[in-house]
Amino acid sequence: MASAAETTPSWSRRRAFSWRRAGRGTVPYALLVPVVAILGAILGYPIYSLVRLSLQKYGLFELIQHKGHYVGLHNFGLVLHDSIFWHTVLRTVIFTAANVGLTIGLGTLIALLLARVSSWVRILVTSGLVLVWAMPPVVAVQVWNWMTNYQNGVLNYVLTELHVGDYFHHDWYATTFSQLSMVTALIVWEGIPFVAITVYAALSQVPGELVEAAEIDGARPWRVFFDVTVPIIRPVLLILTSLSILWDFGVFTQAYLLIGQPQIRPGNYLMAIYLFEEGYFKNDYGKGAAISILMLLMVAALSVVLVRKMVRAGEEAET
């Protein structure tokens, strides 16, 4: 509906008013009212509270009194002048890029593989993927923890047995890079199934004739993939990429539990952990709210860019 109104080209035509059209125009909006009202109630009020909290000094004392006091933009100033915040933003952006890149890349490769294997292998692989997908993150963290255990983890054992090197008593959580790599491995492993299955579904939409025609014209597999397949599945890839970015940017559970609270420090914060540690663990709820809002703004800005791209890709695919 909205796009139809937008594509109405000339300014003068929009002025031509007709009651019938106006009546027809308001019905969809009226139908949207209940949804908007519900969303307003369940999203609007918390956001209002969050904004109000971010403008207050609200610590443990205020929590017990159930009353904070207004400090204006003090909390935002505190966060924006904190070098830990900027380092955390940078670290989280790099972390997100690595995670999304690996998830989408490996997921797409598995999807391409799925399209080519015999049906029983496909069933086997798909079941495996679904099992991974079905595993709750907390359980997955525990399994990962056991596998990478310093004392007697299977990863160290296997690497040593395979003569990759002496991995006995190797500490996978010794450095920030190593810690975050472990988290990345876990997140990518958990993220691949969704990407692989969705891309596989999208691949079935690629017309066989097009691929065949390209092959007859002498295109190599790489060219076929990038010039024929990718343009067709682009909308799906865009949706997957944007969802992955949103998920990975705000990741908390896996990172917090796998690294473990005793090893969490400003030097390995990701955004959500920074928010939790500074806001909740240290009982500075006003500052926590300010961090939440800044995070929300970053994610919102990102979403606008991505959604616009998606809409454009969708329009291109239609034409």
């Binding site: 009226a30 139908l31 009212v33 209940p34 009202a37 004392f61 929590l63 010794a174 005793p262 540690e277």
Partner: protein, 415 residues
């Protein structure tokens, strides 16, 4: 038409939700119940003491029940914060002695000074523990029990290595450890003394042993003191001792893996930790488990150990404060404290003290700075980060200590 249907449906659903939550909240309201939050230590270690306190309480107050809810050290404060914000606070809560100050300063607990005389042995409470429950001259926490840290060791390995008696100095302990390393060499990854790299309770004992400290006060301000020459000497001694006796991960902590698990699997000749570690050294080694007090670098003296402990407090929003104090009275009675002592803990009063290794170790002890924001230093892992940097060689002892010290100064002086 359609719109009306949708709106009606939405309203119906919304009303339904409101109705169910309303009935749920009224249904939950239960009279005559005292809610107590204790740590799981009580559940696994002395459930009988809890049960007999409840029995006594219920006999004194017919019609009342006690609901003991067991908590974990890791997240009980977050849960408590949530109840402070949303209501439903417990009537009695067990707090670690390092956690008290921040909450007392914020007004989270009820002033129970007027009940003090009703608590058994309150005139003789352990000074260190009683202090952790006081703020501005008022009593907010009742000492529950204390515990010091001792060395738990395998007597069979000691004998095999030809070591006649427990070490009386740090140097002696270090040289004994080299003998133990040879005896235990058949076990891959064997630690003569298994020490998790970031066990700051143990590392800080070295700092205090060498005359240093974590922080001092100067002109009403806290000043981090880990970068002072004496503290650095202590940290250096810790580093040297650790590197020569432990094969643990440099980034590991004292909770995960539990040192007694390493011990029960035969991976260690000795471990350091609370005296109750002797509980879990495994069936295989139960008969050859011994304990001694960690020796100082000065021969013949014990190393000052961290005096951990718990207080019982009554949250300010509780509507049953007098009853809560009465339950605390039952739970800290002389007979209850004696039962705790029999389980290897230090009772809450000097007149009850015995001569166990745990109690002897408490003779020389240290405690964290009594600052409102101390718990932020603890939870912010400032000390753990410093220790893993020192052991991993990322920084020199002096560099790591200076970084940590500045950080501690900033954290403790927050408004």
């Amino acid at each position: 038409m359609k719109l009306r249907v949708v709106v009606t449906a939405v309203l119906a659903v919304a009303l339904g939700v409101v109705a169910t939550t309303a009935s749920a909240s009224t249904g939950r309201q239960q009279a005559n119940k005292l809610t107590v939050w204790l740590q799981v230590d009580a559940q696994s270690g002395w459930p009988d003491v809890v049960a007999s306190a409840n029995q006594q309480f219920q006999a004194d107050h017919p019609g009342w029940t006690v609901d003991v809810q067991y908590q974990n050290w890791g997240d009980h404060l977050q849960k408590f914060d949530a109840t402070l914000a949303g209501g439903n606070t417990p009537d009695v809560i067990e707090m670690g002695n390092t956690e008290m100050v921040k909450y007392m300063a914020a007004g989270a607990f009820a002033d129970i000074t007027s009940f003090k005389s009703s608590f058994a042995n309150s005139a003789n409470w352990l000074a260190g523990l009683a202090k952790s429950g006081m703020y501005g001259g008022k009593v907010y926490g009742v000492p529950y029990y204390a515990g010091s840290r001792v060395v738990t060791y395998r007597t069979d390995l000691w004998k095999k290595a030809g070591i006649a008696k427990a070490p009386t100095s740090l140097a002696q302990f270090t040289s004994d450890a080299t003998k133990l390393a040879k005896v235990g060499a058949s076990v891959k990854g064997f630690s003569p003394v298994y020490l998790p790299g970031t066990d700051w309770y143990f590392a800080m004992a070295f700092v205090y042993d060498f005359g240093g400290s974590i922080a001092t006060t100067h002109a009403h301000k806290w000043v981090g003191n880990l970068d002072s020459p004496k503290s650095v000497a202590g940290l250096t001694a810790y580093k040297n001792f650790w590197l020569s006796v432990s094969k643990a991960s440099k980034t590991s902590n004292e909770a995960n893996p539990a040192p007694y698990d390493i011990f029960s699997q035969g991976g260690a000749g000795a471990i350091v930790g609370p005296a109750w570690f002797s509980c879990c050294t495994g069936a295989k080694f139960k008969a050859v488990t011994g304990q001694f007090v960690m020796p100082s670098h000065v021969a013949g003296k014990p190393m000052p150990g961290f005096l951990g402990g718990s207080d019982l407090a009554v949250p300010a929003p509780s509507s049953n404060k007098a009853l809560a104090a009465d339950w605390i009275k039952d739970f800290t009675s002389t007979s209850a404290e004696k039962s705790l002592q029999a389980k290897g803990n230090i009772p809450n009063a000097t007149n009850l003290l015995g001569n166990s290794v745990n109690e002897r170790a408490a003779a020389r002890s240290w405690f964290v700075p009594a600052a409102k924001h101390w718990v932020d230093v603890e939870n912010g892992n400032i000390l753990r980060t410093m220790l893993s940097e020192i052991l991993g060689g990322k920084f020199t002892v002096q560099q790591a200590a200076t970084l940590a010290s500045d950080n501690i100064t900033a954290t403790l002086n927050q408004s």
